[in-house]
């Protein structure tokens, strides 16, 4: 197993990261040129969607909380690109990247942010609560760490049904101190569940750095040892490394039905949410260092151009298309209708929405 790594080595932010050591890993050489371009395109789409969200938010059209994924794209791109038919994912509230990565449309994602009935949850979930169960994406959960037991249950169900699959439960570094996460670790290890716990370690639980929130902050994944689980640490700025190391965890889940904890080092460029002025707990130089020298989209772009897979012209076309798609989504969201007052009391109970002569439920269930 890998050794604990230091998240932020200030020196490493001063010069651009070099080519990936993992380009030749079988998980990556297995990718065709077209698949590599598609992976880059997905990362670019996440980046541009999120940046378009900032504008829509600033125009006052997105309410509530808005947690952006900008800077973390390689984490979800690298992990989700390995998954198959019986693999599932679930995450916390920084969930837009996951939605786009599994194939949700920018339209339904943007419309959900603006609270429109054309949104993925018909305007009932909002930014923190995206869902696409038809794409094996189970949310989008608002309470830190609360989704992790649910993900463990998805892995349990996959195993119960005898399917070769797994579940990836994503969480932030702030979640690792929640009791529910440790209970889920214990169950996954105890019952040999095909489970991958993915800690997206962006260094800050809201405005509290790891040093101020977490005992033994050097390595969060190492806590897996307390449960006898395999673990690894990953440079989350390098999508090739994410794929290479996650591939091992997926194989462990599929072939041995064993859980893994992955800690993926990453960085968010914006505040915890749009409500975070981002002025009190980290300095601008740190953000600048990541943006300039560790940007996951830029690094992958450089990688693919060096490989001859991507040309500056195709790169530009991909980015322009993603920006245009995000603009279209913003217009779609703007023009879509709100849910109605009658919609407020729909989708509470299956039995109420589908009441028939054989229903197990009668009586009053929605009260005046």
């Amino acid at each position: 197993m890998a050794k604990p790594a230091v998240l932020t080595h200030p020196e490493s932010l001063k010069k651009p990261a070099g080519p990936s050591e993992f380009a030749k890993h079988p998980a990556n050489t297995a990718l065709s040129k077209a698949e590599k371009v598609a992976l880059y395109t997905k990362m670019a789409r996440i980046r541009h969607f999120e940046q378009r969200c900032i504008r829509t938010y600033q125009q006052g059209k997105i309410g509530g909380f808005l947690h952006l994924y900008v800077g973390q794209e390689a984490v979800v791109a690298g992990t989700v690109s390995l998954l198959g038919k019986h693999d599932h994912i679930i995450t916390g509230y920084r969930d837009h990247g996951h939605g786009l990565m599994v194939g949700m449309s920018m339209n339904e994602c943007m419309a959900e942010l603006t609270g429109k009935v054309t949104g993925c949850s018909q305007g009932k979930g909002g930014s923190m609560h995206y869902f696409a169960p038809d794409k094996n994406y189970w949310g989008g959960h608002g309470i830190v760490g609360g989704q992790v037991p649910l993900g463990t249950g998805l892995a349990y169900a996959v195993k119960y049904k005898g399917l070769k699959g797994c579940c990836l439960a994503y969480m932030g570094d702030g979640a690792v101190n929640q009791g529910a996460v440790h209970e889920a670790y214990n169950l996954a290890a105890l019952w040999d569940l095909p489970m991958i716990f993915v800690i997206e370690n962006n260094g800050y639980s809201m405005g509290t750095s790891q040093e101020r929130s977490t005992a033994h902050p050097g390595c969060l994944a190492k806590r897996a040892e307390g449960y006898g689980m395999a673990w690894d640490v990953i440079n989350g700025h390098d999508v090739y490394e994410v794929r290479a190391k996650t591939d091992a965890a997926v194989k462990r889940a599929h072939e041995e039905s064993k859980p893994t904890v992955l800690e993926i080092f990453t960085y968010r460029y914006f505040g915890h949410s749009m409500a975070d002025p981002d002025k009190t707990y980290r300095d601008k130089e740190e953000i600048k260092g990541y943006r300039e020298n560790k940007d996951p989209v830029l690094l992958f772009e450089n990688e693919l151009i060096a490989e001859g897979v991507l040309t500056p012209a195709t790169r530009d076309a991909i980015n322009e298309a993603a920006m245009a798609e995000a603009d279209v989504a913003a217009v779609f969201a703007e023009e879509s209708p709100d849910p109605t007052v009658a919609d407020i009391t729909k989708h509470i109970y299956w039995e109420e929405d589908n009441r028939g002569p054989n229903s197990t439920s009668r009586g009053t269930i929605i009260f005046e």
Partner: protein, 325 residues
């Protein structure tokens, strides 16, 4: 019809549903090898094996959350809480996750989970093990709550709960586990949201649920024998959904209502029932609605005083006479 205990009725429901649907799984602390802390699941491990009847660690937030996640993918977990008091350490899972996921996904995800176990006082175990959280949980749209009082209802409601596609929380009562009653051997369900008139009367309606139904039936006997009063006892059986029509029909007939529950009074189930009666049958009432709840304090340990704290027949009789005065 066979005469069996409330405990055996619950077990029969789970056994029949385990046989009927391979996706039904019974899970909880001590449910398998130990045969259940209260022996409700006795023999199920032997009959169905460890894949279907699963012992969990003492880890309510973890295993209840796991059950909720599994239910989203089509498993139908029947999760035992050794006491409903233990639900409080899993509150985020029980309320935020199970109760909200259908709504927040715009109807894309269902959560057909059953969580069951005893939720009652009266067992001389002090405040931490004596909670009656039916009102707290039923106050969350997205959640269903039932409280069977008899063996017949225990089996029928449990089977309905397991087949229901929403989260249903079944609150049992350890003091009722040995109560006997007639229960059909075959398949039947008691739909959620259908109250039952357990005793027909003309002078006063008592509305109750759970063990308070049994207490109210005793009080009704006394009222008839000693005071010549004819009391109708309506057993809610289901808290949410709630059978308003049966409550209102009875009140319209008797013109007087007494509400009895083992909850503490503040925002108890009967606060809602009283609101419904005054809103929809005000002109039918000949007297203010009466109420008997547990004495408003954390559950006391001292057995003699705990028996006073909970509603008992003498308190119900006294309250009834006040409503009838």
């Amino acid at each position: 019809m066979a005469v069996i205990t409330y405990r055996e009725a619950l077990r029969a429901a789970m056994r029949e549903e385990l046989q009927r649907d391979e996706n039904v799984v019974v899970m909880g602390e001590e449910v398998a090898q130990f045969n259940g802390a209260y022996k409700v699941t006795e023999g199920l491990l032997k009959e169905f094996g460890p894949k279907r009847v699963v012992d969990t660690p003492i880890s309510e937030a973890g295993f209840i959350g796991l059950g909720i996640g599994a239910s989203m993918l089509g498993i139908r977990p029947v999760m035992e809480l050794m006491f409903w008091s233990f639900s409080y350490v899993a509150f985020d899972q029980i309320v935020n996750n199970a109760g909200n996921i259908r709504y927040m996904s715009g109807g894309l995800i269902n959560c057909p989970i059953v969580i069951r176990g005893p939720g009652n006082g009266g067992t001389n175990v002090g405040a931490t093990h004596s909670h009656t959280p039916e009102a707290i949980l039923a106050s969350h749209p997205g959640i269903k709550v039932v409280c069977p009082a008899t063996p017949y209802d225990a089996k029928g409601l449990m089977k309905a709960a397991i087949r229901d596609n929403d989260p249903v929380y079944v609150m049992e009562n350890t003091i009722l586990y040995n109560d006997k009653g007639e229960v059909p051997e075959g398949d039947y369900i008691v739909p959620l949201g259908v109250a039952d008139v357990k005793r027909v009367g003309t002078d006063l309606t008592i509305v109750a649920h759970g063990r308070a139904v049994i207490t109210s039936l005793k009080a009704a006997e006394i009222l008839e024998k000693e005071h010549g009063v004819s009391v109708e006892v309506v057993d809610l059986r289901s808290i949410r959904p709630l059978d308003e029509e049966t409550i209102l029909a009875s009140v319209r007939k008797t013109h007087r209502a007494l509400l009895v529950e083992e909850n503490k009074p503040f925002c108890g189930v009967d606060a809602q029932v009283a609101y419904i009666i005054q809103a929809k049958a005000f002109d039918d009432l000949d007297a203010p609605i009466g109420r008997v709840s547990s004495i408003d304090a954390p559950q006391i340990y001292c057995k003699r005083m705990e028996d006073e704290q909970l509603p008992h027949a003498a308190r119900v009789v006294a309250a009834a006479l006040k409503v009838l005065a």
